[in-house]
């Protein structure tokens, strides 16, 4: 459900929908026909302690109908009281953009950076002309708001502002120039709620607007993710036998923290288990137990995967004795993260695959306990059936100047992206320009292979790695919402503090299509005809040289040849299934491709983003002619013919040009770099566009000088509507 323009918390919706509660007003304990603050006092009169059933006349107090009157019921009552007064939830916090839609609503901000809010006067006309007080308040849950609706601005005082009816630009307010604290300890920053106090009474109540009621936070200020966290750490090096050597780092005050998630690191071939201290230290200082183990990589991937499996079991089975029992009972074995590098990166995927296939049965954990896998520049020796992440949350970190697992077109083994595209769960990639294979450990040989002057070096590559791993694990293991934005927002606009401004990082993100209930408009997997999308709608176009097919460069060169339309694609081998489309346009004529939306998919309001991934075609003449970020325009059209358009660089850059590495044929440009672009659907309605998101009949991509770059060659995939 989109956060914007939602007036009732989810929990409340479910309570009101419960048939047993529809007979009378739930929570109306003073029986006056309305649910208000007086009912809270009446509820307390019915509360007899934990696990007590409702007494005579107190049935109203059991709001969730579970047979007891407890704090869960009070929380629901408080939400009802709030809802009774029409407090409106809306996305407020964000940052202005220089082009339409002129504002991006987001949750995550770097400490020291400006924070803004905005309302669109056409979507919230009730606020036009109103002079209000705008508060930035320490984050409170819905229940906390229910019990304490007082507004206390963390900045010392609220801002006064009068909303205009002109535009969202006119209603953009700077809340902070970078003074909001991010000092949240291991919580990784601090959360805040933003409130428009319409009646200026200093209390969240009738008519007010809030960002951060039911979903936890309105905005979150993140610290420098490249720096170690606040906790002291301890470490121990020990062995349980052959290929059971481990070094484990944990927060020294682990006993006070209670059970914490386990991160397991499996090194690559010719590497050592002691080479990842930078990452172990970073994560342990934020409260994780991080074990790196000897990995039997030289025989092959099966052997490597066995050592990942057995080392994880060994640590869990022997926690009573390891390091004198310092970890005993304090490892949360239901939250395990596997990180592997190169052969070890494939090994961790293979390990998961073996459990998934029933070929290996761990003794002390299960498949479901593996909540996240990340591979650093993995190999693909075993191929489609055996090195498959299946439905686990999967991430890949990869350097464009990798001289070892190079992505070279003449060999499937060093094409890391195969593994990413096999993942059917939520998947994301972090592709770092100028990083080589061993930049992600301390001590491997320098195999940088790229143009002079583009090498970012080990310290910078490890800053990227530390930031992305902290964000990944916080997001997937602890549900940290803002950390998730580090994974998918365009790096040009939102990169971790501490990472150099000149460092180029290209990100991919695709939520699990099943659990997220995305609507796939076209992923090119079925309906191989270019005239039909995979969802069954018609596709029309006048872009040039359009070809659908397997995302697999069909020869051993990156040199552009007409006979290899998928040149530069390293996302599949012949037994894989990841397909997409490529096309180009050139100077002189604007071009388009348009997807008709099938009737069942025309209501876009349940979704939050229009998402797709795109890449430039390496060494193609049109790519070479531009050699810069590629920009185009996305237009939505509703049933009445109303359109709204957005350039894809509104929230950052365009589609990155390929890293200008040479080799494997004439020209410069390495493997194609898919990059995910996510356009917020509500933003297509800004400034009175009039677009009806309940009945969108077409999505159109438009190219040419009227819409962005005058020429270019594009690969495209995974056009979908997502709820995150």
């Amino acid at each position: 459900m989109p956060k914007a323009v939602r007036s009732l918390p989810l929990a409340l919706v479910s309570v009101l929908a419960a048939p047993s509660l529809l007979a009378g007003p739930p929570g109306d304990c003073d029986n006056n026909g309305v649910v208000d603050a007086a009912d809270v006092a009446a509820w307390y009169a019915c509360f007899q302690g934990p696990l007590s059933p409702p007494g005579p006349g107190c049935e109203c107090a059991d709001l969730n109908g579970d047979g007891v009157v407890d704090m869960r019921d009070l929380a629901l009552l408080q939400q009802l009281v709030l809802a009774g007064a029409p407090v409106q939830e809306a996305e407020l916090a964000g940052l202005a953009t220089t082009i339409y839609p002129y504002f991006e609503h987001v949750n995550a901000f770097n400490v020291g950076s400006p924070v803004q809010m905005a309302i669109d006067p056409f979507l919230m006309p009730g606020l036009v002309g109103k002079n209000v007080h705008i508060y930035v308040v320490a984050d409170k849950s819905a229940a906390q708001w229910g019990s304490d609706p007082a507004l206390v601005d963390v900045r010392g005082a609220p801002q006064s502002f009068t909303f205009s009816g002109a535009s969202i630009q006119a209603n953009t307010v700077t809340l902070s120039l970078g003074t909001l604290s991010a000092n949240g300890g291991i919580a990784l920053g601090l959360g805040y709620d933003v409130v428009i106090d319409v009646n200026k009474d200093g209390v969240l109540n009738g008519g007010d607007v809030i960002d951060g009621l039911s979903n936890g936070i309105g905005l979150h200020v993140l610290p420098d993710l490249t720096l170690d966290g606040p906790l002291a750490t301890s470490s121990a090096t020990y062995s349980g036998g052959t290929f059971l050597g481990q070094v484990t780092v944990w927060p020294t005050n682990l006993a006070a923290l209670g059970p914490r998630p386990l991160v397991v690191i499996s090194h690559g071939n010719g590497h050592q288990y002691t080479w990842y201290n930078y990452l172990q230290q970073s994560l342990a200082s934020y409260g994780y137990i991080v074990m790196s183990h000897q990995n039997n990589t030289v025989p092959g991937i099966e052997s490597a995967s066995t050592t990942t499996l057995t080392n994880t079991d060994y640590l869990l089975a022997n926690q009573a004795t390891i390091a004198g029992g310092a970890l005993n009972g304090l490892i949360d074995s239901s939250r395990i993260i596997w990180i592997g590098h190169s052969r070890g990166g494939e090994g961790v995927v293979r390990a998961y695959d073996r459990i998934f296939d029933g070929a290996w049965a761990p003794q002390n954990y299960t498949l479901d306990d593996i909540v996240l896998i990340s591979s650093i520049a993995p190999t693909d020796f075993l191929g489609t059936a055996s090195s498959n992440p299946h439905d686990v949350n999967y991430h890949m970190l990869y350097g464009s100047a990798d001289g070892d697992v190079c992505g070279c077109p003449n060999n499937d083994v060093p094409q890391s992206f195969h593994l990413l595209d096999r993942a059917t769960g939520t998947r994301q990639a972090t592709y770092v320009h100028g990083a080589d294979h061993n930049d992600f450990n301390c001590c491997g040989v320098n195999d940088f292979t790229g143009p002079a002057g583009t090498e970012i070096g080990r310290p910078e590559a490890q800053r990227v790695a530390k930031a992305v791993y902290l964000a990944l694990i916080k997001h997937y293991v602890e549900g940290h919402q803002a950390a998730g934005e580090v994974l998918w927002r365009q790096y040009e606009r939102f990169k971790p503090i501490g990472v150099a401004g000149a460092t180029t990082v290209v990100s991919q993100f695709k939520p699990n299509p099943t659990t997220s209930a995305s609507f796939v408009i076209d992923d090119f997997q079925v309906n191989g005809s270019p005239n039909f999308s995979s969802s069954g709608g018609a596709v029309s176009y006048n872009v040039l040289n359009l070809t659908e097919g397997l995302l697999d460069d069909n020869n051993t060169s990156f040199e552009w040849l007409v006979s290899d339309p998928m040149n530069g694609m390293t996302y599949a081998r012949t037994t894989d299934y990841s397909r997409g489309v490529v096309f180009d346009w050139t100077l002189g004529t604007d071009r388009f491709i348009e997807w008709a939306i099938i009737p069942a998919g025309r209501d876009f309001t349940p979704y939050r983003h229009l998402s797709f991934r795109a890449c430039q075609g390496t060494r193609h003449p049109e790519t070479v002619a531009v050699l810069g970020d590629l920009v185009f325009t996305v237009t939505l059209r509703d049933a009445s013919g109303t359109t709204s358009s957005m350039r894809i660089d509104a929230f950052g850059g365009g589609i990155e040009e390929p890293y200008q590495r040479t080799g494997y044929g004439v020209g410069a440009g390495w493997q194609n770099e898919f990059e995910t672009i996510r356009l917020p659907l509500q933003a297509f309605r800004f400034n009175g566009s009039g677009l009806d998101l309940t009945n969108v009949v077409a999505v159109r991509f438009e190219f040419g000088t009227s819409y962005g770059a005058g020429r270019g060659r594009l690969g495209l995939d995974d056009l979908e509507l997502t709820r995150e």
């Binding site: 052959t242 010719g270 052969r343 083994v413």
Partner: protein
């Protein structure tokens, strides 16, 4: 550089290469195979009381005896790669390399089973994953090596290698064998101290770890 280093003693070669490596880039191309070793430096039979699996070939035979060897090699053959590396063979067996050997040009390896270095050649075959190599592949690789003119090491070299530590190692298990291999790494490939220490780590049991603490 490689040619110069072959004429240096292992310690000097390692230090020289260590000074050069941080500036190195783009991995060397993988040499053509089959490729012979340069010299057999050490050969010692061993037995273990507790069998262990030889996971360096597809059949994964149980190992109770074999030989420990040290060979001088062209470093590019053992450059640590994530993609397939040349497989070290001894006769009809795959050898288990216990160190990398790139900087020193010295590889310490365990060869399981009954091997006869008087008749069995030692060579690097086609790059692949050793765990996928089976008897059929070994036979093909041996045939290719023989066609390429690769022969068993000369008798004098063999005798010299045997004479370093001629008595059979009688060990309890794989861990003890790896500790012996670690000792050889420290002697022949001293730049790989970390690898040697890792192999000897098995003597550091969980109850007596090396511990450190870092303050924020």
């Amino acid at each position: 550089m490689r040619a110069i280093m072959r004429h240096l003693n292992p310690m000097t070669a390692a230090l020289t290469l260590a000074l050069v490596l941080p500036c190195a880039a783009e991995p060397p191309p993988c040499p053509e195979t089959p490729a012979t070793i340069e010299r057999l430096l050490y050969l010692r039979p061993f037995t273990v009381e507790q069998p262990f699996q030889h996971v360096w070939r597809a059949e994964q035979p149980a190992v109770t005896r074999g030989v420990l060897i040290v060979v001088a090699v062209k470093p590019d053959l053992v450059y640590p790669r994530q993609i397939a590396e040349p497989v070290l063979y001894v006769g009809r067996q795959t050898a288990r390399r216990v160190n990398v050997g790139y900087a020193s040009g010295r590889v310490i390896a365990i060869v399981p089973g009954d091997v006869n270095l008087e008749t069995d050649p030692v060579w690097f075959g086609t790059p692949r994953l050793p765990e996928q190599v089976d008897a059929r592949i070994i036979a093909q690789e041996l045939e290719a090596a023989q066609r390429a003119g690769i022969r068993p090491v000369a008798g004098e070299q063999l005798r010299a290698a045997r004479s370093v530590e001629p008595e059979t190692l009688k060990l309890a298990d794989e861990e003890a064998l790896l500790r012996e291999a670690a000792r050889l790494i420290l002697k022949h490939a001293p730049d790989e101290r970390e690898q040697a220490e890792g192999l000897m780590l098995s003597s550091r049991k969980p109850g007596q770890p090396e511990k450190k603490e870092v303050k924020p």
